[in-house]
């Protein structure tokens, strides 16, 4: 990846892999974030992150908790300014939230006074789309995430997994070219989580969106991703990038194969090599 980082953002192809490479969508150019801790001392949460993500890719960002994954996501989403370096989207520096971004936070962050449908059409409402179109899009997205029939329910009437699907539907409702997800399934039980992983795989392939997916689960990262950015402990940077060379969509059963096991072992090795993180 290091070969292409830098100036040639818009150049569509610099043969990097076996399959025909898509154009670069996102570049991290020595991105760092320094927070001020409670005692006033600077804390370097993210340091010198480099890398690029191509259109249509599913990239996971894997790292121990507290290593700065959310910080990196927030900077990518344009909700937080990097202290150093810059992130480029389609060649232009990200200085704020962009049109074409869909964001899913760790918690669903639904509005409890709105029904499922009204939550999903919020982005269309904010953008000022005609009402009919808002509703049409919302209903299509609700169907896509498998919640047809729940349009007029309120968030408190749904399970955690369903709420998170509403949040995904909302993020997809304006047809984003980039879906940014920060540990969206962190709060779910293992069974629901597996199911949500399958759904997300289907949705990402169906919508063709580029997905940047933050997780601290090795299996989840390996199962979903084209490539996994493995973060080191604080101050964290991208320690290595693992390409999971298995065609998507993948079946859950594949998680039991030797081939998959090799990737999991590799990712675990990279995380463990760090050592010392809590």
């Amino acid at each position: 990846m290091t070969a292409t980082a830098g100036a040639l953002a818009q150049v569509p192809v610099l043969a990097a892999g076996a399959s025909a490479p898509a154009p670069v969508l996102i570049e991290f150019d020595r991105v760092a974030k320094v927070y001020k801790a409670a005692d006033g001392r600077p804390v370097r949460a993210v340091d010198s992150v480099k890398g690029e993500i191509r259109a249509g890719e599913f990239v996971s960002i894997l790292g121990p908790s507290g290593c700065g994954k959310s910080t990196l996501m927030m900077m990518l989403a344009g909700l937080l300014r990097p202290s150093e370096g810059e992130i480029r989207f389609k060649g232009k520096p990200v200085t704020g939230p962009q049109e074409g971004f869909g964001i899913v936070f760790q918690d669903a962050v639904l509005f409890p006074w709105r029904t499922v449908q009204d939550n999903v059409r919020l982005p269309g409402e904010v953008r000022g789309l005609p009402r009919d179109e808002q509703i049409e899009r919302a209903q299509a997205m609700i169907r896509l995430v498998g919640l047809a029939g729940f349009e007029s329910k309120f968030p408190h009437e749904l399970s955690g997994g369903m709420q998170q699907r509403v949040a995904i539907a909302r993020a997809l409702s304006l047809g984003p070219s980039l879906l940014v997800m920060d540990e969206p399934f962190g709060a779910l039980d293992a069974m629901t989580r597996e199911q949500m992983n399958l759904e997300l795989q289907r949705i990402s392939l169906e919508s063709g969106a580029t997905v940047v997916f933050v997780t601290h689960s090795i299996a989840e990262a390996a199962f979903l991703s084209d490539r996994v950015f493995v973060m080191s402990g604080r101050p964290s940077t991208v320690r290595d990038i693992v390409t999971v060379d298995l065609p998507r969509p993948r079946a859950i059963q594949q998680m039991n194969t030797d081939r998959f096991g090799v990737y999991v072992a590799r990712l675990r090795g990279l995380l463990d090599a760090e050592g010392g993180h809590s």
Binding site: A77, G78, L79, G96, P97, E99, F101, I103, F105, D107, V109, F111, P112, W113, L122, P123, E125, V126, R127, F154, P155, H156
Partner: protein, 270 residues
């Protein structure tokens, strides 16, 4: 359609007694005790009338129409004062909560003013706004304003920042963010403030009338007190209570409709 959708009846004998029954029974028992005590101890009516004579007086006041102009005047004072307090409380509370400069400059002054006993200002307000309903409405509004504004500020300050972040990600401007997130988020707090505010408005209007006026329930209390018409005073108190009760039930009904989603949420009231 499906059998499972049918709501099961409450099991008989377990919840057949409505929640309000014990309170009503107790109230009736206390009134009976009062009635009995007055009769047995032969307490004169100009000290403490029996509940039955008060009841007769309540009916009389309505039948003769004596109470109506007073009730109407006080209601207008309360309503105008309350609406003013609500509008100002939301407007000023919003500005203080969202504009840093105002929080630093205006809010400390407002908090300091809050310690002034507002009823003590009523005589001044009569000088400034006259003997009519204006001074009473202002007194009512002034007292109701503080709990409303404080709740608006607390409500806006405690809005879940992730909701605001989401609006930012959707590239919503400050007005849309306010209308779609901040305002609905703080409604439970606002209504807690309004419920206190409406009761405070009634107090304000009555105090204003005590200080000086020619019509209103507070005025009627003073007039009847002067003639040692104790049953008459009790009758006015009953009408005052009913007015306060009805007004706060109206507020509660709105709160019920607009904040159904926040039932379990903790609400502060000052």
């Amino acid at each position: 359609m499906s059998a499972t959708a049918v709501k099961p009846d409450a099991p008989r004998g377990q919840r057949s007694v409505p929640d309000s029954v014990p309170a009503i029974v107790t109230a009736v028992a206390l009134l009976a005790l009062w009635e009995g005590a007055v009769k047995v101890l032969e307490i004169p009516a100009f000290i403490l009338p029996t509940p039955s004579s008060v009841a007769i007086r309540i009916v009389d006041d309505l039948a003769t129409g004596v109470i109506l102009p007073h009730l109407w005047t006080t209601f207008i004072e309360v309503a105008v004062g309350f609406v003013l307090a609500a509008l100002l409380g939301v407007a000023l509370g919003t500005m203080v909560a969202l504009v840093r400069a105002l929080e630093k400059t205006i809010y400390p002054i407002v908090l300091a003013l809050q310690t002034v006993p507002k009823v003590a200002i009523a005589p001044l307000l009569i000088i400034w706004f006259g003997y009519g309903i204006h001074s009473k409405a202002v007194t009512a509004g002034l007292i109701a304003f503080f709990p409303i504004m404080v709740n608006v500020i607390v409500g806006l300050k405690t809005v879940d920042h992730r909701r605001v972040l989401l609006m930012q990600a959707l590239r919503a401007g400050p007005v849309k963010t306010y209308l779609k997130v901040r305002l609905p988020s703080m409604l439970p707090y606002l209504f807690a403030g309004l419920e206190v505010g409406i009761i405070f408005s009634v107090i304000g209007a009555i105090v204003g009338e005590f200080v000086g006026s020619s019509v209103g329930l507070g005025t009627l209390i003073i007039q009847r007190q002067a003639t040692v018409d104790v049953a008459g005073v009790f009758s006015v108190l009953a009408y005052l209570s009913i007015m306060g009760l009805v007004l706060s039930l109206i507020i509660k009904a709105f709160a019920h409709r607009l904040t159904f989603w926040a039932r379990s949420q903790e609400i502060v009231s000052p």
